[in-house]
């Protein structure tokens, strides 16, 4: 929660107390009232004000009617809510869990239709044709609540029912009960419970309003809403007969709402904190869970001459004037934890400085300090100067001076505005208006000025788009950001910076998740910008990119500068051990294809696969044929969207192919994994790109991993747990770590656990789908080394999907290159890595063309 949230925690608690108090009165009356009501007294005169609350329209005692009248409202609403849940939740879960589209439609379409009718109309309509009575009312209100309950259940269950965790369970044929109830129901439980309060409010509203309109209950029933309706005529004579039941109904509604709102808020807050803790533990930088308000950093004024502390190996400082960026002794801490300690560097105009380091080393914090920004709760100290001006969160740089390209450029683009409109807006802000004539412009002159201004803006936009290699035609300018490719989005953000006449550009991991062709474009683009006089600060762990473009290098480790200097020197001869480790991406010689002559372990023949997008089918694999030898390793490479992952999923049985065969040891495998025999299922295992969502959050990692042995090797639970512990130990996870739930493990640890889970099935083939993307160099190398070791130890055939040349070089003995669903080149890794024929292969795999300089090509 944001810091201001803390301030109104007291009113929130007060609100809850008021809610409980308001709720208590009508509930108490509803529950205890009938017992206190006593026998009916003889009727008096209508609307007689005598007695506690007087009499009603037929002369009955209002107090007695009030005591009796709560039961029906509360009871009917409760029963209706319960009934709606009893029917709606199973329906919604069924629709979510089924993999048959028609069943989903069959369940949900009629319910959607029901939703299209306004609820009160539906209620009146139903009540008009059904016999009166509380049971009817319960049924009707339940029917009205049903579609919403089913929809919410379905929506809550859908991501669980088809997500990676479910697929992982299907890979070891988890029992239906554990998948549906243990995973999906447990996972959506909280959403459904929290929603029950909202549904109850809705039911209460409907029941009361229906009774008021005289629908569904007898006209003389003892019911608060009926009383309000019937005694309305006496509002002047005997207001209590209306106001008391009305006030009780209002108290009931407001009370339930206040309490439910509080419970929902608590749930959201708990979820938010969980997510923040999760993010903190994963990235090492606990930006989000920092308590305390945003405090502008107290900064010590430093003389220009004062040297920044703790940077022994700092580069020689260029003269002040040439420096676009100058950072001296920058500290950052959050909640007592140090993110940056005495970081100093300078960047001259026309220079590319790379800040490199592992994830969580403080690169982003340093980069954002240049923008005069700090994450919530982050305190900065030290001196940051941009273009000769001191910059801090209190005094950000002048607009436009520092451009920022975030890791996900799409986040910086407004999803609902056309890109041309935004470009023109930025250009208008930064294009100097024509000088006005002092005598006050005549209308004609003003109009002419507007026209020239508009054309100047348009020209500026076109010029900048040409500089970043984007089209500038009308069709393109009318697009929305989501209609651009990732590379185009990134260039568009750069175009914004150029239009704003930025002098410094901070690029945060611009190549993460991009294929190598796009990566090459990024390198080219950054170089061009620097050559045009921009000071570029590159935050990256992509060493190829750094080698290709950086003039100077600052290596960060745990927030401190461990090495700095000209890029070529640092890369060629790193002095610090930590730098060496970071740079040590040297591929080991791949295992010789020992058994090339043997029959292949896995053979894929003429595989065709399609994705369905709405009604249309898009073919993503067009007749792919390849094979993996026993103990061999096949790397599948290609640009994003070339069909690599679909190929892997077809082999694993997660995606049913439209044609072709997948054969294991000469036998064909069934297309979907549900139809494979248990032995076949165990023989082909799949490790997901992102390990975290492939575990479900409710049980310990050990328990989840051990289920693979229970289901696929039929081991009794205790022995399965022992086997799992051994497998997890083999991948380097200690017993106390694996006893935790997945949210307490880091991404790298979970990826190890996922490997252990695959191994536990004793497979012949393991498919690794981009398992190192998103990891920094050091973590990546550890995982690659582990995979290599496991494969030798267990004699596995590997299929590795990757666009990382280093991974391919290190593991693969055979490579296939996919483009638009077809194999464009295949052959031994040694040949393709250095002497490929196809230009795409060369672009993807050849070191000289992915941007590595001559200084540090891959060592043999």
């Amino acid at each position: 929660m944001s810091p201001p949230g803390r301030r109104h925690r007291t009113p929130a608690r007060l609100r809850l107390a008021v809610g409980v108090a308001l709720l208590a009165v009508p509930l108490l009356v509803a529950v205890v009232g009938p017992a206190l009501a006593g026998d009916a007294a003889p009727r008096g005169r209508p609307f007689d004000p005598g007695g506690a609350f007087g009499t009603d329209f037929v002369g009955r005692d209002v107090l007695r009617q009030v005591l009796l009248g709560g039961r029906s409202v509360v009871g009917v609403a409760l029963a209706a809510t319960a009934l709606a849940y009893l029917v709606g939740v199973p329906l919604g879960l069924l629709a979510a869990l089924t993999r048959r589209r028609w069943l989903d439609e069959l369940v949900m379409r009629p319910l959607d239709l029901l939703l299209a009718v306004p609820s009160l109309i539906l209620l009146i309509l139903l009540a008009a044709t059904a016999p009166r009575g509380p049971a009817t009312l319960v049924g009707i209100v339940a029917v009205i609540g049903l579609p919403e309950v089913a929809r919410i259940s379905r929506a809550a269950a859908l991501p669980l029912a088809h997500g990676p965790a479910m697929e992982a369970m299907r890979l070891y044929r988890e029992t239906w009960w554990r998948r549906a109830v243990g995973h999906v129901v447990t996972g959506s439980r909280r959403v459904l419970l929290a929603d029950a309060g909202v549904r109850f409010i809705g039911a209460l509203y409907l029941v009361a309003t229906a009774s008021f309109l005289g629908v569904g209950v007898a006209p003389d029933a003892a019911d608060w809403a009926v009383m309000v309706d019937r005694n309305r005529a006496g509002l002047l004579l005997q207001p209590w007969s209306v106001l008391v039941p009305a006030a009780l109904l209002v108290a009931l509604a407001v009370g339930v709402n206040l309490v439910a709102d509080r419970l929902l808020a608590d749930r959201d807050a708990a979820a938010g904190e969980g997510a923040a803790r999760d993010a903190g533990s994963r990235h090492g930088a606990a930006h989000r869970d920092a308590p305390g308000a945003r405090v502008p950093a107290a900064r010590a004024p430093l003389d220009d001459g004062a040297a920044g502390p703790a940077v022994a190996a700092g580069p020689p400082t260029p003269p002040v004037d040439a420096c676009a960026v100058r950072v001296v002794g920058l500290d950052a801490e959050v909640a007592g934890r140090r993110l940056l300690a005495g970081v100093s560097f300078t960047v001259a105009a026309g220079e590319v400085l790379a800040l490199v380091g592992r994830s969580g080393s403080g690169k982003t914090t340093a980069g954002r300090a240049l923008l005069g920004e700090a994450g919530p709760g982050v305190r900065l100290a030290g001196r940051v100067e941009v273009a000769g001006r001191a910059v801090s969160p209190a005094t950000p740089p002048p607009p436009g001076v520092v451009g920022y390209v975030p890791q996900q450029p799409s986040a910086a683009l407004n999803p609902v505005r056309r890109i041309g409109a935004v470009l023109r807006e930025v250009a208008r802000r930064h294009t100097r208006p024509e000088r006005r004539t002092p005598g006050g412009p005549s209308g004609d002159a003003a109009a002419r000025a507007t026209v020239t201004r508009r054309s100047a803006v348009r020209r500026a936009v076109a010029d900048v788009l040409a500089r970043v290699d984007l089209p500038a035609d009308r069709e393109f300018l009318r697009r929305f950001p989501h209609q651009l490719s990732g590379g185009q989005q990134q260039r568009l953000v750069v175009a914004h910076a150029l239009l704003a006449r930025a002098r410094v550009l901070v690029a945060d991991e611009p190549t993460t998740g991009q294929d190598s062709l796009t990566r090459r474009d990024v390198a080219h683009e950054l170089r061009t910008l620097a050559d045009a006089g921009m000071a570029v600060v590159l935050l990256s762990h992509d060493l190829h990119l750094v080698r290709a473009v950086a003039d100077r290098l600052v290596v960060l480790d745990a927030g401190a500068v461990v090495e700095a200097g000209p890029a070529a020197d640092v890369l060629a001869a790193p002095r610090d051990e930590r730098t060496r480790r970071l740079l040590a991406a040297a591929p080991a010689a791949p295992l010789a294809a020992a058994s090339a002559a043997a029959a292949p372990a896995l053979r894929v023949g003429d595989l065709v696969a399609a994705h369905r997008a709405g009604a249309r089918r898009r073919t993503v694999l067009r007749g792919v044929t390849t094979a993996v030898a026993p103990g061999g390793c096949l790397a599948v490479v290609g640009r994003s969207g070339s069909g690599k992952t679909t190929l892997a999923r077809c082999v694993a049985g997660l995606h049913p192919p439209r044609g072709g065969t997948v054969g294991l040891d000469g036998r064909p495998l069934a297309g979907t994994l549900d139809r494979r025999t248990r032995a076949d299922l165990a023989a082909v295992q799949y490790v997901f790109q992102d390990a975290r969502p492939s575990f479900h959050p409710h049980r310990s990692v050990l328990e989840q991993v051990s289920r693979a042995a229970v289901r696929l090797r039929a081991l009794p639970p205790t022995r399965a747990r022992d086997a799992a512990r051994r497998a997890l130990g083999e991948v380097g996870l200690a017993a106390d770590v694996v006893a935790r739930r997945p949210d307490r493990l880091s991404g790298g640890e979970l990826q190890r656990a996922a490997l252990a889970r695959a191994l536990l099935a004793e497979p012949r083939v393991v498919i690794c789908d981009e398992i190192t993307s998103g990891l920094d160099t050091v973590s990546r190398d550890r995982i690659v080394a582990l995979v290599d070791r496991l494969r030798r130890a267990h004699g596995l055939a590997l299929v590795v999907i990757s666009h990382d040349r280093d991974v391919v070089a290190r593991l693969a003995d055979h490579v296939v290159v996919l483009d638009a669903g077809q194999v464009v080149e295949a052959g031994p890794a040694s040949a393709l890595l250095t002497a490929a024929r196809h230009p795409l292969t060369r672009a993807l795999l050849h070191p000289s063309e992915t941007g590595a300089g001559p200084v540090t090509g891959p060592r043999p």
């Binding site: 944001s2 029901l114 299209a116 309509l125 044709t129 008021f212 207001p239 709402n257 609902v416």
Partner: protein, 316 residues
């Protein structure tokens, strides 16, 4: 997908929904098991009246034939003849439409600027006094049934303080002849939708102002006012537009209640009367009218949302 294509597809779905709802209405009112005439005749099963009903509703013909005829008549705008007044249903609806449309239109006209404006103001200073006041009101009022709120307001402002007329009796359906009559009904109708819309606007604005693209625009020198109105607001409005469509559901229900409490001779009153009198053709006509309105409003909201959140539309 382009907007016209999306609109065409969405309109087709809407037409299907109208037919579906019409079918539901028909099934519920006429094709129930048992003899519809006996059910409609109700508590006093007078054989002569039953015979008359059978004749008027054509109950001797099979249900599916009646259904097809009814649909064909609907398509040509013929809603049948009221069983009670023997006047054409279309005329009955036209007579009651004026006050109802006035109430609904006035509510919407006030609702959108009021809730969006206050929601934006509350979002400007999260946790500020206005924000807290608005949030407390919204949470409190949200769940109060209209009739209870209406009667409490009538008791206080209409009778005890006598500031405002407690009912619309005497205006004869022409509410504009005494505009003061509108005050209390409008407050009642506004209460619930205002709560949900202002909270949604507030939440949407807070989220949008925290988005990276707004920070990006700020770094580029876009002034704060423009950031809010041009960059953040359109992002915040997509869920508001959808909720506004759902609000018509409440509004239609609210109008029925408000008309009952304030004695306004509008469509809501006509519906309640028709249901009490089991005037099947009138009930059918009203329900179809309501369904068409709801579907149209939802269609419009989806189109607005498609423009405001093009990605969502593309994914759907």
């Amino acid at each position: 997908m382009s907007l016209p294509r999306y609109a065409a597809r969405r309109a087709l779905v809407g037409a299907g929904q109208v037919v579906g709802v019409a079918t539901v209405v028909f099934v519920l009112t006429e094709a129930l098991p048992g003899d519809a005439a006996v059910v409609i005749a109700g508590d006093q099963p007078d054989p002569a009246r039953i015979a008359l009903l059978r004749d008027q509703l054509d109950l001797d013909r099979p249900a599916w034939q009646r259904y097809l005829d009814w649909l064909a008549d609907l398509a040509s705008g013929d809603l049948g003849v009221s069983l009670v007044s023997q006047r054409p249903v279309a005329g009955v609806l036209a007579a009651g439409a004026a006050p109802t449309v006035l109430l609904a239109a006035a509510t919407l006209l006030l609702l959108v600027p009021l809730s969006v404006g206050l929601g934006m103001l509350a979002a400007r200073r999260e946790g500020g006094r206005l924000d807290r006041a608005l949030s407390a009101t919204a949470v409190g009022l949200y769940a109060v049934p209209e009739f209870a709120l209406a009667l409490l307001l009538v008791a206080v402002f209409g009778i005890r303080l006598a500031w405002l007329p407690p009912t619309a009796v005497g205006t004869g359906g022409d509410l504009l002849s005494r505009p003061a009559v509108l005050a209390l009904p409008l407050v009642v109708l506004l209460a619930r939708p205002f709560c949900s819309l202002s909270r949604l606007t507030r939440a949407g604005m807070i989220e949008a102002m925290r988005a990276e693209h707004v920070a990006h625009a700020r770094r580029l020198g876009v002034p704060e006012r423009r950031l809010r109105l041009v960059h953040a607001l359109p992002n915040a409005l997509a869920p508001v537009a959808q909720q506004l469509a759902r609000t018509t559901d409440w509004l239609l229900g609210g109008v029925i209640v408000v008309e009952a409490v304030f004695v306004v001779p509008g469509l809501g009153t006509a519906l309640v009367d028709a249901v009490t009198a089991r005037d099947v053709p009138t009930v059918q006509g009203l329900c179809v009218l309501v369904a068409v309105t709801t579907v149209t409003v939802n269609l419009a909201a989806d189109l607005v949302a498609f423009r405001l959140a093009p990605r969502v539309g593309a994914a759907a």
